[in-house]
């Protein structure tokens, strides 16, 4: 009897010891959620879409504008970091830090969008209204569309990842798509997003119906679908919410979110954009890695070409620097993604391509007049198209357009001297080529 009591005692002790062991070893963090509980109610649903916007900020704050500008002729390398030298020289290895980070950042945003699209329909929370649920899903579709568009124009057709990564099995067997397939996916997502999203009179830093239409106009322009490009650009231009601001500089000086802006990403004192640091000289506390090129400075400061857009640069002599991103004390420069000026120039180009030269000139001149310039003197279709190209170059000098414009119009060889078309696409990141059996590197890398 005594023996059995003892035995029970020992077993009980052991049991307590082991179960308390287990308990003792269970540690959970206080700043993260388990991925299985990541989107379950209204709070986490909102946090997820907020996180998705944050991911877009992640690649648009500095990296995307960098790879869209220093690769072309308006901006040159002036720092110490090799990744920028490689971009400037268009000798981009597959492990270039900036292109890798951009590619990675875009897919991070896409994975978040995928997670939201997959999880939100199942969120059971009475506080989540149908309208808000739709808005969040619509925003996720828009973010995914923007991501694939930004990948497509930089890297060509990419792997279309449409399921959230809960584990690595969802990756298997997805090969690269063609550029047309990637753009089709963008269109499909934009088409889904538009009816789900609201369109109010003031929001400029979240996706709205008009933002979807604006991106769609740009997509059609890239796909040379001129009529659709014109139609969608017109829908946005017609919206009274948007108007060009005068002088030019007022869209990039505080307060931001001007009527110029169709879509920009807002930063704040607690969520800073330090992109200015790459543009400003060290005598202003910056790194001065990105510098306006001499030919560009000559053009933008020419009253007949740059007009009031000379406000994009400051400094003199050998120390001219770009000031589009200029909130050095506060770091609240927005990321400019779509401005209404772009819609005018999209429509101008679409109209010119459709031989509506008068209409094209009218749109081009709207942008020129805002910059304090006389109307364009271009006459022929070719002249007008060239004038639009030049206008876009100056108007969006430090926004990610110039490189992608010259690639989509196949003018990178003539303008930049990069005749090897293989260099018109960025390389797929080296680590992906090494770790992903389903990916194929772009030719020439």
């Amino acid at each position: 009897m005594k023996y059995t009591i003892h035995r029970y005692f020992y077993i009980a002790t052991l049991f307590i010891a082991f179960s308390s062991c287990k308990k003792y070893l269970n540690e959970i963090p206080n700043n993260s959620l388990a991925s299985t509980n990541a989107i379950t109610d209204i709070g986490t649903a909102r946090a997820a879409i907020t996180g998705a916007y944050d991911a877009v900020q992640g690649y648009y704050a500095g990296n995307y504008p960098t790879i869209g500008t220093i690769t072309a002729d308006n901006v040159i390398f002036n720092g110490t970091l090799s990744q920028y030298l490689q971009l400037d020289q268009n000798a981009i290895p597959a492990d270039n830090v900036t292109t890798v980070a951009t590619y990675q950042g875009i897919y991070r945003a896409i994975n978040l969008a995928n997670s939201i699209i997959a999880a939100l329909p199942d969120v059971k929370d009475a506080r989540l209204t149908a309208a808000e649920r739709d808005r969040i899903i619509g925003e996720a579709y828009f973010i995914r569309a923007l991501g694939y568009f930004d990948l497509g124009r930089g890297w060509g057709g990419v792997q279309l990842q449409l399921q959230p990564t809960a584990d690595l099995s969802v990756l298997k067997g997805i090969k690269r798509s063609t550029l047309a397939q990637t753009y089709d996916q963008v269109l499909a997502d934009l088409t889904k997003a538009e009816p789900l999203l609201p369109d109010d009179a003031s929001t400029r830093n979240r996706a709205q119906k008009s933002v979807v239409r604006a991106l769609r106009a740009r997509l059609h322009l890239y796909r040379q679908q001129w009529a659709e490009a014109e139609s969608y650009a017109t829908q946005v231009i017609a919206n009274a919410k948007y108007a060009l601001v005068t002088p030019y500089r007022s869209f990039f000086t505080s307060p931001f979110l001007t009527t110029e802006s169709v879509f920009e990403l807002t930063f704040s004192a607690n969520d800073r954009n330090t992109f200015w640091n790459l543009w400003y000289p060290s005598s202003f506390g910056g790194q001065y890695t990105l510098k306006p090129s001499n030919p560009f400075v000559t053009k933008v400061t020419n009253p007949l070409i740059g007009g009031t857009r000379n406000a994009l640069v400051a400094g003199t002599g050998n120390n001219v620097y770009g000031v589009l991103y200029n909130t050095t004390t506060t770091g609240v420069d927005p990321s400019y993604i779509i401005r209404i000026a772009e819609l005018y120039l999209i429509r101008a180009e679409a109209r010119a391509k459709q031989n509506n030269l008068a209409g094209a000139l009218a749109d081009l001149d709207v942008v020129r007049r805002r910059a304090g310039l006389a109307n364009s003197t271009a006459v022929t279709q070719a002249q007008i198209l060239l004038a639009i190209e030049e206008e876009r170059s100056i108007e969006f000098a430090f926004e990610p357009h110039r490189w992608f414009d010259l690639v989509r119009t196949e003018r990178a060889g003539d303008v930049l001297g990069i005749t090897d078309r293989k260099r018109w696409l960025f390389p797929i990141p080296l680590s992906d080529v090494l770790s992903d059996p389903d990916v194929e590197q772009n030719p020439g890398y």
Binding site: T50, L81, T165, L430
Partner: protein, 1016 residues
């Protein structure tokens, strides 16, 4: 000295023993200080040159038959002071031994126990305090450089209190920690840097600098599996056991005072191209570029009057003659029931590069009390405060050295209006020297209390509670005169970081000898530990200050805050047994079971066994008959140990992190994939050792061969970015380390007035990645110069291998590895690695009368250094804001020039052509040329010390028992082929996989020091 006494006693015993005749019985008892019998004590009898050992029985008694009336005996017992006496016939010889805390030659502290060195199967190196004292460096890990075979030590820079790279038998891991486990008086201490201020890529601090080297008695380095497996999951990278000084029972107070004063200067200074040379090179490059672009040479825009450009020497402003001061005072002693050691230390060191410095205050109190005959209470506690003035270097262009080294030498330091001038990405070096204000103050408490209860003389239970608590309080202020504070009207940050390690352990030890003539000896223990590691940080930062005199975050116009916290727990059970038969054969086995909160729920537990065998062949009669060996011993061991450090506390969980905010709303985003199967990284190690002494113990040699294989690496396996993740922490991959170690101790000469001893050690290690998912490239701010690739060592460098500079074109020609006729990323190849093949040290000690001289040489061979200073300063003008090194002047200029520095140009067309000017400095190669990779082997006179002991009769009248004064020089000269300032450098040290860079780093100092040690 000890040897002399022995000889004297031998002589004495001879005299005594000559008066003898018939067979007599001498008997007695060996007891401890409280009268308990000591079983298994060894009584060494010297009789006319023949040695005989007698071992006491269970009740401590012994007896021997001899023809003498008395014999001279030396009595030893593990953990007690050695005792020499005469044993007489007729009287009852009662010998009371005293417990010692001084570690004797033949007794060493091993994992959780004390063992007789002769029987140990593991590979353990002991370094005594006397071997490392008075070297002017604050961290004990740094002092071990060249002192122990199998241990590679590199100071990452010459920054006082800065990081140190310390590896025992090579790098075992890729993503988990490669740091050994440090244990001070039984306390598991943290060797993780806590300073959060970014200082470029250098490791911010050496946490072991918190401990005063003067407090240390001995250091044991446990290297093989037999020695480390008892630490299970913590032992894979080796274990450093540090024992601090303690008082002795029944000893009167001893007071010691030490001080030294030192003056340091750089071993070398930077030499840069002058203003006219810089302008000349710039113009030449611009002309060449114009020609390469098909334009007339006259179209190039040149610097006018290059030969009249001024020269501004910036780098000389960086250096100073830096002062180091050290003061220690300690008291130790004991009564019949207690012992104490109390010490206070102060250490203050300036770096040779302004404005950094380091100082430390230490207080230590070690105490033991025998509460009763069976119960003992002890503690050791160390409280230290360190202060660092830190500054950024390495890859931060706004670091102090960067801002002096890189700007072009013809550019003035000041603007015409007298303000600081800045160029490109760089700050003004004088502004930084005068205004940099980054302070880190650290308080650390390392404490241990234990209770030990003896149930029986052979059975003891020890329970110990330990804490290692570090708090670092950092306050940084960048005022408006330096670039970091310029843009935002001053910026400040303040942070408090805490690391807390709590450990509780219980150990039950059983030590017993039995059988006829004590032939069987058992030394066994079982125990458990519970370990908790907490890390937390709270920080605040602010920008926008009304004045440079206001530096508190609280008065900034914009303020933000942040915090972090993580907890990891570990539960362990372990056992160890060692059996020795007849002083000849020892069998060792241990097993440890560990469970860690870091791992997946499915695979939390890890089991780490080990086994070893020692054969003291020297005890066999057939060896003794050879009359060659004074000791001959073979060891073999095999075992497993684990690693879990260095990965996140929540590494196995699938997580969405919060704080991914937009529009000041809280946002979440996935950050980590779940891996419920995540488990231990395991190292299997085999060690074969040979130890022998010959020539009457004049030469002692220890030779070890080891083979380590680490598998199931905790590896961040790269995953396709389309997953939304960059990597997935998995148990994948393997690394091996194989090597040979040799330690030799010579007693070259031993005369009455003159003695000369030498200690030599040399180690060879070969590291190889045996299995890896795919290449992982990293390092040098995204230039990916370091690479991890299967089949190569960790810390390999991948570069374009420059074959030659074509004498006809002046263009660099690179090896076209894949033979496709063009130079692309596929032609980057591994051209060397940063791991030394061979490291070692040679110490010679001379003693002549009252003078002593010690000469210590350290050497390492086979490692490469990526000279990033050359990479940036030999750039062919592709770096518009960076000057040149004189090496750039050796560039190719005209047909027929033979050089390794290609023609100057910034042309970038056709970036994939070989022998094309695009790839000279830019293009696909982008200056990642093997011409900047250099041999980092060196041999260095690490220290040379001349000391003088004042004769007793001079000093005794002041009640002083000893005074030694000395003068010492450190790093007096170095032989190396390396062209940078100093070959002992590791700039990118905050990542273990980016070793071997030299990048705007504070070089090692050359130091002259004078000091005095006084004993009262």
């Amino acid at each position: 000295m000890y040897l002399h006494i022995q000889k004297l006693l031998l002589l004495l015993s001879l005299i005594v023993s000559t008066q003898v005749s018939a067979q007599k019985n001498i008997s007695g008892k060996v007891l401890d200080e409280s009268g308990n019998p000591l079983a298994g004590a060894v009584i060494k009898i010297a009789k006319l040159g023949r040695a005989q050992n007698i071992i006491t029985s269970n009740d401590g008694s012994f007896s021997l038959i001899t023809e003498y009336d008395s014999v001279n005996a030396i009595i030893t017992y593990t953990g007690f002071d050695e005792f020499s006496t005469l044993l007489f016939q007729k009287t009852i010889n009662t010998i009371q031994l005293q417990k010692t805390n001084k570690v004797l030659d033949d007794v060493i502290v091993t994992g959780y126990s004390v063992q007789n060195k002769r029987f140990i199967a593991g590979s353990i190196t002991t370094v005594k305090a006397s071997e490392i004292k008075d070297i002017p460096a604050p961290g004990i890990n740094q002092l071990l450089q060249g002192k122990a075979a199998g241990v590679q030590v590199t100071a990452n820079s010459g920054v006082a209190g800065g990081g140190v790279t310390f590896r025992i038998r090579g790098n075992n891991s890729i993503n988990a920690s490669v740091e050994p486990l440090y244990i001070i008086d039984g306390v598991f201490i943290s060797s993780n840097n806590l300073i959060s201020t970014g200082l470029g890529s250098q490791q911010q601090s050496n946490p072991l600098a918190d401990i005063n080297p003067s407090d240390i008695e001995t250091i044991q380095i446990l290297k093989d599996a037999n020695a480390t497996a008892i630490y299970g999951s913590l032992g894979a990278n080796g274990v450093v056991l540090i024992t601090t000084k303690r008082g002795r029972l029944n000893s009167k107070a001893k007071i010691q005072f030490n001080t030294y004063q030192a003056w340091s200067t750089p071993t070398n200074k930077y030499l840069l191209a002058t203003g006219p040379e810089t302008a000349l090179l710039t113009n030449e490059s611009r002309i060449n570029t114009a020609i390469d672009n098909g334009l007339p040479a006259s179209s190039a825009v040149l610097i006018p009057n290059p030969e009249q450009q001024p020269t501004f020497l910036r780098t000389d402003d960086l250096f100073r003659t830096a002062r180091t001061s050290n003061y220690d005072i300690s008291a130790q002693g004991g009564t019949d029931k207690s012992t104490y050691f109390l010490a206070f230390g102060y250490y203050d060191q300036e770096s040779i590069v302004k404005p950094t410095n380091f100082n430390r205050y230490n207080l230590r109190f070690n105490y033991v009390n025998y509460l009763s005959k069976k119960l003992k209470l002890g503690n050791s506690i160390n409280i230290s405060r360190t202060f660092r003035n830190v500054s950024s270097n390495d890859n931060n262009p706004q670091g102090v050295i960067n801002s002096a080294l890189f700007p072009r030498s013809y550019l003035p330091v000041y603007n015409p209006d007298g303000t600081y001038a800045r160029y490109g990405s760089f700050d003004n070096h004088l502004a930084l020297i005068e205004h940099l204000n980054n302070k880190a103050e650290s308080w650390r408490t390392i404490g241990n209390i234990y209770l030990e209860y003896s149930f029986l003389p052979e059975l003891k239970l020890k329970s110990s509670w330990s804490v290692d608590n570090t708090s670092v309080y950092e306050n940084n202020y960048s005022n408006t005169l330096i670039a970091a504070g310029l843009a935002n009207n001053g910026s400040a940050s303040s942070s408090e970081s805490k690391s807390l390690i709590l450990t509780n352990e219980q150990i039950l030890t059983y030590i017993k000898s039995f059988g006829g003539s004590r032939k069987h000896n058992i030394n066994a223990l079982v125990g458990n530990t519970i370990n908790t590691v907490l890390n937390q940080n709270t920080s605040a930062s602010g920008t926008g200050f009304a004045s440079n005199d206001l530096t508190a975050v609280s008065v900034a116009s914009v303020r933000t805050g942040s915090s972090s916290r993580s907890v990891a727990k570990l539960i362990s059970f372990f056992g160890k047994a060692s059996y020795t038969y007849d002083n000849k054969y020892t069998f060792d086995a241990s097993l440890r079971a560990d469970a860690s909160s870091r791992f997946g729920v499915n695979k939390r537990w890890g089991y780490f066994p080990s086994g070893g065998f020692t054969w003291r062949a020297g005890q066999e009669s057939f060896i003794q008959k050879l009359n060659v060996f004074d000791e001959l011993k073979f060891r073999v061991s095999v075992g497993l140990s684990g690693n879990q450090n260095g990965i996140g506390s929540y590494a196995a969980l699938g997580l969405w992190n919060s704080g991914n905010n937009y529009l000041d709303q809280p946002g979440n985003a996935p950050t980590q994939l779940a891996n419920p199967d995540l488990t231990w990284e395991t190292t299997r190690q085999t060690d074969i050792g040979l130890e022998f002494s010959i020539l009457n113990n004049r030469l002692t040699a220890i030779i070890d061969y080891y083979n380590k294989y680490t598998y199931d690496l905790l590896l961040n396996v790269p995953v396709p970015y389309r997953s939304g993740f960059a990597s997935y922490l998995q148990n994948f991959g393997a690394v091996s380390n194989k090597g040979v170690e040799l330690t030799l101790k010579f007693v070259n000469l031993e005369r009455k007035a003159f003695s000369w001893t030498s200690d030599f050690n040399i180690s060879y290690n070969k590291n190889k990645i045996e299995k890896l998912a795919s290449d992982i490239a990293l390092g040098a701010s995204g230039r990916n110069i370091s690479i991890l690739r299967q089949g190569f060592p960790v810390n390999s460098f991948q570069l374009y291998k420059q074959l030659y500079v074509d004498p006809n074109t002046g263009n660099a020609v690179y090896e076209d590895v894949n033979g496709d006729g063009i130079i692309t990323a596929a032609d980057r190849q591994i051209v060397g690695d940063a791991l030394p093949r061979i490291t070692g040290g040679l110490t010679n000690n001379f003693q002549y009368k009252d003078f002593d001289l010690s000469v210590f040489v350290y050497f390492q061979e086979g490692n490469k250094i990526m000279n990033m200073n050359d990479f940036f300063l030999v750039h062919g003008n592709t770096q518009a804001n960076i000057g040149f090194l004189p090496r750039q002047l050796k560039r190719w200029q005209q047909k027929g020039d033979i050089t390794d520095i290609p023609r100057l140009t910034t042309f970038s067309g056709n970036p994939s052509a070989n022998n094309s000017s695009a790839n000279n400095y830019g293009g696909n190669v982008a200056n990642l040329s093997s011409r900047y990779l250099e041999d980092g082997s060196f041999i260095r006179l690490r220290t040379i010390t001349l000391g003088y002991n004042f004769p007793r009769n001079w000093i005794s009248k002041w009640n002083i028992s000893g005074v030694r004064a000395y003068i010492q020089a450190t790093n007096l000269f170095t032989i190396t082929k390396y062209n940078g300032l100093d070959p002992e450098v590791n700039s990118q040290s905050n990542n273990q996989n980016t070793t071997g860079y030299d990048w705007a780093t504070v070089p090692q100092p050359k130091t002259i020091q004078v000091g005095i040690n006084v004993n009262f």
